[in-house]
């Protein structure tokens, strides 16, 4: 199968936030460092996926591991940037629930041959809702310019990523049943928006706040 150019660009774009994050590592707060860890982990996952695909091994289990790391990292980051008790409690409960669901789903089939629509959809919806809530919280509590705050850029990137892929993820296997070409066509959304999101994530590391 011919891999489109945008897929290569998208894979390479994951290096941008990872590298920028490492560059500014010393002056970053702990939640931001957690995100740097996640972006570097994503780069490793991309490489692993590529190697496994070339070896003809199913790499869905790697995607599942990436999913839980993504969820926990973003939740940790968002929770540290919100000081409202209700928001924080809701995020903690949501995280615990998701971890339990993830372990339950994965324990039934640790090496699946199909995307887990359930894990992906729940994670995307939860992160989308939390990103919207955190950006609203930021807007209502912030005194200064929002664009000078790292949380704003992370929220924007997260909202863009999760809103663009939530429907595709939830119907991924149905589309895959129509043919890999159809899936690839839809996946252009994911590639395109992940390039933009990675630039937005990298932008967040340039903020002083």
């Amino acid at each position: 199968m011919n891999v489109p150019l945008i897929a290569h660009v998208s894979a390479a774009s994951h290096l941008v936030p990872a590298a920028v994050g490492l560059w500014y590592w010393k002056r970053l707060s702990l939640p931001m460092r957690v995100l740097v860890f996640y972006f570097n982990f994503t780069v490793l996952v991309e490489i692993t996926e590529l190697i496994l695909a070339l070896l003809g091994i199913h790499n869905i289990f790697v995607i599942n591991i990436h999913r839980i790391v993504e969820f926990v990292s973003f939740m940790y980051f968002f929770r540290h940037h919100v000081h409202h008790h209700t928001y924080r409690e809701a995020m903690a409960i949501l995280s615990m629930l998701y971890i339990v669901l993830w372990f339950t789903e994965v324990s039934f089939d640790p090496f699946p041959k199909q995307h887990s629509e359930f894990i992906n959809t729940v994670s995307n919806i939860a992160l989308l809702i939390v990103s919207v809530a955190v950006s609203f919280y930021l807007f209502t509590t912030s005194q200064g310019n929002l664009t000078s705050q790292s949380t704003f850029w992370i929220c924007l990137g997260a909202i863009l990523t999760f809103s663009s892929t939530v429907i595709i993820y939830s119907l991924g296997n149905t589309v895959l049943a129509l043919g890999i070409e159809h899936f690839t066509l839809l996946w252009h959304f994911n590639w395109g928006f992940s390039i933009i999101a990675n630039i937005l994530y990298a932008r967040s590391f340039l903020c002083q706040q």
């Binding site: 200064g144 310019n145 663009s164 892929t165 066509l185």
Partner: protein
């Protein structure tokens, strides 16, 4: 490569994704616009305060009446204009403070009491005798700053010799 028109499911997914992304970006556009509007309003208010402060400063420095900001419990002079310093023949706020403390304790006690109770003092007469100078009569009006011990006062000198 298939086209999006090939299957209705693809069309539904693409259209709903576009709608969702548009909503998300619209939400952010609203947030950014509102934030900029709030910041612009804050800047305009700060500018207004700065101008008002400048006007007050000009008035304070060029007033023909003596003006001061003081603590009405300790009679510490915090700010004073040149007119009031000249009126008492002194050069620094501290010197003026010393004069206030040394002279007419009773009058100052009454002023403190009135400021504490009513928050204002209107045209309070203070007879003052400074060594080597003829007796003076001052009229003080003051207003307390909120619930603090700070007050802003205006002092004018009355020529007592004419009356006598």
């Amino acid at each position: 490569m298939p086209t999006i028109t090939e299957h209705p499911l693809l069309q539904i997914i693409i259209i709903s994704t576009i709608v969702l992304v548009t909503l998300a970006l619209g939400y952010f556009a609203v947030i950014i616009t509102s934030n900029r509007k709030i910041i612009a309003e804050q800047h305009s208010k700060i500018e207004e305060i700065r101008k008002s402060e400048e006007r007050y400063k000009t008035l304070f420095e060029n007033s023909v009446a003596g003006m001061m900001k003081f603590n009405f419990q300790t009679w510490a002079v915090l700010e004073v204009n040149q007119t009031l310093l000249t009126m008492f023949n002194c050069t620094t706020p501290y010197e003026l403070q010393r004069i206030f403390i040394d002279l007419h304790f009773d009058s100052f006690y009454q002023i403190s009491k009135m400021l504490m109770k009513y928050g204002t003092v209107d045209v309070f007469e203070i007879p003052i005798v400074i060594k080597g100078e003829s007796p003076k009569k001052l009229l003080l009006s003051a207003r307390r700053e909120g619930k603090t011990e700070i007050a802003h006062g205006v002092v004018v000198q009355v020529n007592t010799q004419k009356n006598e």
